[in-house]
C-alpha cells in the first residue's frame, strides 16, 4: 500500500493529536517538541536504539504499535504500543513519564519494566536525547492497538522483584565522556553501551539474566542463536577485522569475510545500515579497543577421526560455496577460515545455520542476499558435529570440538522455533 494513502486516511486522527498537543501549555525555556531538528535527532537516536524492532510486529505495517513477543530466558514479554495513540499508546504520557520509562525502567502504569526493555543501556543517554526520541515518536502514525502488559510466569510476574534485580545489575547514569580517549572512541562507547545496546545480545548473562560484566561483549546465547564475541580477540572476536571491515559490516550487512544473518540481519536492516558512516566507524573503533580474552587454545590435530571426517564432508559439500581453501568469496559467501563466529565457544549459531540454512541481509549497498541451504536432511548429528569441529580448527583458528549431543539438543529446541 503506498505510503501516501495511509497518511491520507489518518489525517483525521492526526489533526486531533495536533490540537491536543497545542493545548498542552508550552513551558518557557523548553525546546519546541515539533521542532524539525529535534524530531530529526530523535529519529536518528530511535534508529540507533532500534525501538522499531521490538515494538513492531514484523510485516504488520504498523510501526511502533507493539504486540511483538520478546523472548527472554524466563518467558515471552509482549512489547507495548509506543505510537502516540492516546488510549492504547503513549500519547497521553508526560515527558517525565517517558524519560523515566526509557532511562530508569519504570513505566507510569505497569510499574517496573523488565530489562527486555534495555533501560540498563538507554540510561546512558541524556534526558535531552530521550525527549528528542519522544518528539519523533509523537510524529509517527498513531495506531489503536491495546497490548496487554503481560506477565512472565511466577515468580517473575512479581514486578517489584525487579527492585532486587536492579540493585544487582542496573547502574543508572548517563555516559561519562573519557577525556583520555579520542572523541571517536567516546562516541563509539556511547553508542555501543547506550542506544545500540550491543551488550543486550553480546554480553553473557547470569542465571538472573543480568550482564556478566567480566565477560563484557564476549558473546552470549539468546533466542536460539549465539551472538559472537565482538571484542578484539583474534580467535573468537574482531581481531582479524579492520575498522573498515566492521563499519562496512554494520552499514551493508556484508564485508569481505562474512554476512549478517538471523537477528543481526534485522538489526542491520532496521538500525545499523541507517547510521552515519562516522558513527559506524566510531562503534568499530571502540570495539577494536577492547582486548577481550586473548586465550586461544591450540587447534585440534588434523588427523583425529573427527577432523578427518569433517575434512571429507567439507571438501565434498561446503567447498561448493565456501571454497576449497575455506575462504569463501568476498561479499558473497563467508570465509570460514577467517570466521571468528565459527570459533565461538557457544556453537549454537553455526549449528543452527547448518541445520536450517540462512539468508543474509539485503541492503541497498549489498542487495544480493545470498542464502545457504539447509543440510539437516543430509547430515547426521555426528556428521554436523564433525564438519563444524573441522571448520573451527582447520585454518589457523581454534575452538573446542562440537559434540553430536549439542547438535541433537539444538535440533529439538529449534523444532518449536519458526525460522
Amino acid at each position: 500500500m503506498p505510503r501516501n494513502a495511509v497518511v491520507a486516511r489518518s489525517l483525521g486522527a492526526f489533526a486531533l493529536i495536533a490540537i491536543f498537543a497545542q493545548t498542552v501549555p508550552a513551558v518557557a525555556g523548553e525546546v519546541d517538541h515539533q521542532d524539525f531538528t529535534r524530531v530529526e535527532r530523535g529519529r536518528y537516536l530511535a534508529t540507533a536504539s532500534d525501538c522499531i524492532s521490538c515494538h513492531t510486529v514484523p510485516g504488520s505495517g504498523r510501526p511502533f504499535a507493539g504486540g511483538r513477543p520478546i523472548e527472554t530466558p524466563f518467558g515471552n514479554i509482549v512489547a507495548p504500543n509506543i505510537t502516540p495513540d492516546l488510549e492504547t499508546g503513549i500519547g497521553a504520557w508526560t515527558d517525565d513519564e517517558f524519560d523515566t520509562a526509557v532511562r530508569k525502567g519504570i513505566g507510569p502504569r505497569s510499574g517496573r519494566l523488565y530489562p527486555a526493555m534495555p533501560y540498563t543501556a538507554y540510561t546512558k543517554m541524556s534526558r535531552d536525547d530521550v525527549l528528542a526520541i519522544r518528539a519523533y515518536l509523537s510524529t509517527v502514525q498513531p495506531v489503536s492497538n491495546r497490548v496487554v502488559a503481560n506477565t512472565l510466569p511466577f515468580p517473575f510476574n512479581i514486578r517489584t522483584a525487579m527492585l532486587v534485580w536492579n540493585a544487582l545489575y542496573f547502574k543508572q547514569g548517563e555516559y561519562a565522556f573519557d577525556p583520555q580517549k579520542p572523541r571517536e572512541w567516546n562516541r563509539g562507547a556511547f553508542l555501543v553501551d547506550g542506544p545500540a545496546h550491543c551488550g543486550a545480545c553480546h554480553t553473557p548473562k547470569s542465571m538472573l539474566g543480568g550482564d556478566k560484566v567480566a565477560q563484557y561483549l564476549q558473546g552470549s546465547y539468546l533466542q536460539g542463536w549465539s551472538a559472537p564475541d565482538i571484542t578484539n580477540d583474534a580467535n573468537r572476536g574482531l581481531g582479524n577485522w579492520t575498522i573498515e571491515d566492521i563499519a562496512t559490516y554494520l552499514k551493508t550487512g556484508h564485508n569481505r569475510t562474512t554476512a549478517a544473518t538471523g537477528p543481526m540481519a534485522e538489526a542491520v536492516d532496521l538500525s545499523f545500515s541507517k547510521l552515519t558512516d562516522d558513527d559506524a566507524r566510531a562503534i568499530a573503533t571502540y570495539l577494536k579497543s577492547l582486548p577481550g580474552r586473548q586465550d586461544t587454545p591450540p587447534p585440534l590435530a588434523k588427523d583425529t577421526p573427527v577432523m578427518v571426517a569433517g575434512n571429507a564432508i567439507y571438501r565434498d559439500q561446503c567447498a561448493a560455496c565456501h571454497g576449497l581453501d575455506g575462504k569463501g568469496i568476498a561479499r558473497l559467501f563467508p570465509s570460514i577460515a577467517d570466521s571468528s563466529m565459527v570459533r565461538s565457544d557457544d556453537p549454537t549459531t553455526v549449528i543452527r545455520i547448518v541445520l536450517r540454512g540462512a539468508r543474509s541481509v539485503a541492503t541497498k549497498a549489498e542487495p544480493t542476499a545470498p542464502g545457504m541451504p539447509s543440510y539437516a536432511w543430509q547430515l547426521t548429528d555426528e556428521q554436523i558435529a564433525a564438519v563444524l569441529t573441522y571448520m573451527r580448527n582447520a585454518w589457523g583458528g581454534a575452538a573446542p570440538e562440537v559434540k553430536p549431543a549439542e547438535v541433537t539438543r539444538l535440533k529439538s529446541s529449534l523444532a518449536l522455533r519458526p525460522d
Binding site: Q317, A320, C321, P367, T368, P370, S374, Y375
Partner: protein
C-alpha cells in the same frame, strides 16, 4: 466472469530473461509494473542447493524444472499433408517454466550474431545471387543492424559478467578471440574460463589444422563479479551440472543472479507467480491492448488492465498467445499471407564423439561448465565461400562438453553391444577417455515457407484452447550444411588423437523425439515490412502499438549461434526505445 484488478502502467507476461530486463528498465523509469508468470518462484538456496542439484535422474532425465506437457504442449508434423500429433512428452526441445525461465537452467553460452546475420537476405543475395537460395527459403533482413545492437550486446554481457576473450576490439583483431566476430566496443567484463584437458586438446588440434580456436563466451563466470545493479556473483566451480540444472553457487548468469534481488525490492514492482496468462485483451478496434486475462491455480479468471503490454513468455508461447488473442493475421503458408506463425525455426545440431586410448588419456570429463569449450567459427554464417558447396548458413563447431553425467555419458565405441559383459567392459574402459561434445556442431536453421506455426484443428489443452501446431522439417539446405560442418568437426576430433570417432549427422525428417537444443525461434518476427513481419524493428506489434513482443520469436531466421545473448540485447534495445521514444509519444514508432 473475470474479476478486474486495479490498473497498472505495464503488465509483463512471463518473468524470464526478457521479462526481468524489461521490468527492471521500466521500474527504473518510474512506471508501476506487474509481471505475471505461469510457473513457480525459483531461488537458488531453496530450489537448487548443492548436493541436491547433482541429480541427473531428477533434473535431466525427468526434467523437473521444465514445463509439464499436461499444462501446455504443442502438436507436431513434418509436412503440411500430415496430421499433427501431440508432443506428449518433450523430446526435441524443452520449454522452461517458472520465474527465471530458461535463464535458470541454460548453459549460459553467450554468443553475438554476426553482422551479416542481421542483413542475411540482402547479403546472401548480393554475394551468391537470388538463384543460389532454395526457392522455398523465406529468410529476411531483421530491420536492425549489428552496429545498432552492439551497445545492447555490451549491456547484457556486462549485466551477466560474461567471461570471454575479445576477438575484434573496435575493429582490431585480437589474438585468442574469435576473429570473425563483429567489432565490440570494449572487452568482456571477465576473462575467459580456464579450459579443462579435452577442450584444450581440441584447441591445439584446431590450431595445428590452421584454424583460430577461441574459448566459448560464457555466462558461467571465471571470477567473482559485481554487476552494474550491485549484485554479486561467484566463480563457476565446474560442477558439470549446468544445462537442465539450476546453479547452486551464484556463478551462472540468470535473472535470479543478475536482476531479481534488486527488482523485487522496488516498491513499484509486483510479481505474480503460478498465474497463467491466457489472453491479451484488446479494445473494440482491435488496435489497442487493454491488458491481459490470467487464471490462478484454482481456475479463477482475473483481468489485469494496463496501458502497456509486454509479451515475454518465451518464443513459442509468444506466438501461441498472439494466435489465441487474435492479434495480427495468422500466417497461411499456401497464400504466403499473414505474419503470426511465419518463419518458425530451430537449430541444426549434430556431433562427433571421440574414443581415445584410456591408457594415455584421462579427460576427467565431469569437470566442466555449461559454456566451456574451445570453438572455431570458420564455418559459421557466411564466413566462408559457399559457392562450391551448394548450401547457405553454417555454425560454430567446438569441443563443447559440458559435463559427463553418467546416465548419459557412458558411451561405447561403434559396434559395441548395447548390453552384457562386452558393454559393461567397454563402459568401464571408455568413460574417462571419451570426448563427447553435446552440441559440437551448432548450425543455423533458416526459414522456409512451409515451416511455420498455427493452431491445431484437433487437439486442445486443459483449458479447452487449441494447441499450437508446429509444422517443421529438415530441409536439404540444412542437411547439406550439417554434413559439411560435421565432417570438418570430425577432422579436428580425429586430429586430437582419437582412436575411433563416431559421427552423427542431422538428417531429414526432423525428429521431435531427440533433443536438439531449445532454440526454437520465429513466429512473431521482426522486420521492416508489416506484410512479412509481425513486429517492427523495436519489437513493437505493427497491429497493436502498445504491445511489444520480446524474445527469439522475433528472429526472422536462426543463425549458427545460441540465441540468448541476442534475445537479451534486443530486450534492452526495446526497453530503450520504450523509455526514450514510446513513453514520450505513445503510438507506432515506425511508419511503414
Amino acid at each position: 466472469m473475470a474479476r478486474i484488478l486495479p490498473k497498472k502502467d505495464v503488465v509483463i507476461i512471463g518473468l524470464g530473461w526478457t521479462g526481468a530486463i524489461m521490468a527492471h528498465e521500466l521500474t527504473d523509469e518510474g512506471l508501476d509494473v506487474i509481471a505475471i508468470e505461469r510457473g513457480p518462484w525459483r531461488d537458488a538456496p531453496t530450489d537448487f542447493p548443492p548436493s541436491q542439484m547433482q541429480d541427473e535422474l531428477r533434473y535431466r532425465v525427468r526434467h523437473e524444472l521444465f514445463l509439464r506437457p499436461d499444462q501446455l504442449t504443442f502438436t507436431f508434423r513434418n509436412k503440411m499433408d500430415q496430421t499433427a500429433l501431440p508432443i506428449r512428452s518433450w523430446g526435441a526441445f524443452m520449454p522452461p517454466n517458472g520465474v527465471g525461465g530458461g535463464g535458470v537452467h541454460w548453459n549460459a553460452e553467450m554468443w553475438r550474431f554476426l553482422p551479416s546475420d542481421f542483413v542475411l537476405k540482402t547479403h546472401l543475395t548480393q554475394r551468391y545471387g537470388k538463384a543460389f537460395l532454395p526457392e522455398d527459403m523465406t529468410i529476411q533482413d531483421w530491420g536492425i543492424t549489428y552496429d545498432e545492437l552492439e551497445p545492447y550486446y555490451d549491456r547484457f554481457e556486462y549485466l551477466c559478467g560474461t567471461s570471454g576473450t575479445a576477438g575484434n576490439l573496435r575493429g582490431e583483431i585480437k589474438e585468442g578471440g574469435n576473429p570473425f566476430e563483429g567489432p565490440r566496443s570494449r572487452d568482456y567484463p571477465t576473462k575467459a574460463q580456464a579450459q579443462p584437458f579435452s577442450q584444450t586438446l581440441f584447441g591445439k588440434a584446431a590450431r595445428d589444422l590452421g584454424y583460430k580456436p577461441f574459448p566459448q563466451p560464457s555466462g558461467n563466470l571465471s571470477t567473482a563479479y559485481t554487476n552494474p545493479l550491485g549484485l554479486r556473483m561467484g566463480p563457476c566451480t565446474y560442477c558439470g551440472f549446468c544445462e537442465w540444472f539450476g546453479c547452486s553457487n551464484y556463478s551462472k548468469a540468470s535473472p535470479q543472479t543478475t536482476i531479481l534481488p534488486v527488482l523485487v525490492r522496488k516498491s513499484n514492482f509486483t510479481a505474480r507467480d503460478n498465474s497463467e496468462v491466457v489472453k491479451i485483451n484488446t479494445d473494440r478496434s482491435g488496435k489497442r491492448a487493454t491488458g491481459v486475462t490470467f487464471i490462478d491455480t484454482s481456475g479463477n479468471e482475473w483481468e489485469q488492465p494496463a496501458d502497456l503490454v509486454i509479451l515475454s513468455a518465451f518464443s513459442v508461447f509468444n506466438a501461441q498467445l498472439m494466435l489465441h488473442s487474435g492479434i495480427g493475421q495468422p500466417y497461411d503458408p499456401v497464400s504466403g499471407k499473414g505474419t503470426i506463425g511465419r518463419n518458425f525455426t530451430h537449430q541444426t545440431i549434430s556431433s562427433v564423439n571421440g574414443f581415445f586410448d584410456s591408457k594415455k588419456y584421462n579427460f576427467n570429463p565431469f569437470i566442466a561448465s555449461g559454456s566451456i569449450g574451445m570453438c572455431i567459427d570458420e564455418f559459421n554464417g557466411d564466413n566462408f565461400d559457399h559457392g562450391p558447396h551448394g548450401f547457405v548458413g553454417g555454425g560454430y563447431v567446438g569441443q563443447v562438453q559440458t559435463g559427463a553425467r553418467p546416465i548419459e555419458s557412458t558411451l561405447t565405441p561403434p559396434g559395441t553391444p548395447k548390453w552384457g559383459t562386452a558393454w559393461k567392459n567397454a563402459v568401464r574402459d571408455n568413460y574417462l577417455s571419451t570426448v563427447k561434445p553435446g552440441t559440437g556442431v551448432h548450425g543455423s536453421f533458416y526459414a522456409y515457407r512451409d515451416i511455420y506455426l498455427d493452431l491445431d484443428p484437433l487437439y486442445k489443452d486443459r483449458l479447452g484452447r487449441p494447441l499450437m501446431r508446429m509444422t517443421i522439417d529438415m530441409k536439404e539446405n540444412e542437411v547439406k550444411q550439417n554434413r559439411f560442418l560435421t565432417d570438418k568437426f570430425a577432422e579436428v576430433i580425429q586430429a586430437m588423437g582419437a582412436n575411433q570417432i563416431a559421427k552423427s549427422y542431422r538428417t531429414a525428417p526432423y525428429d521431435m523425439t531427440t533433443y536438439q537444443t531449445t532454440h526454437v525461434n520465429g513466429g512473431v518476427i521482426m522486420g521492416e515490412d508489416p506484410t512479412t513481419s509481425a513486429v517492427n524493428r523495436y519489437l513493437q506489434s505493427w497491429d497493436v502499438p502498445n504491445l511489444f513482443v520480446l524474445g527469439a520469436s522475433a528472429f526472422p531466421q536462426n543463425a549458427g549461434y545460441n540465441p540468448t545473448l541476442t534475445v537479451g540485447a534486443l530486450a534492452f534495445w526495446t526497453a530503450d526505445a520504450i523509455r526514450n521514444k514510446y513513453l514520450k509519444s505513445p503510438g507506432s514508432l515506425v511508419n511503414a
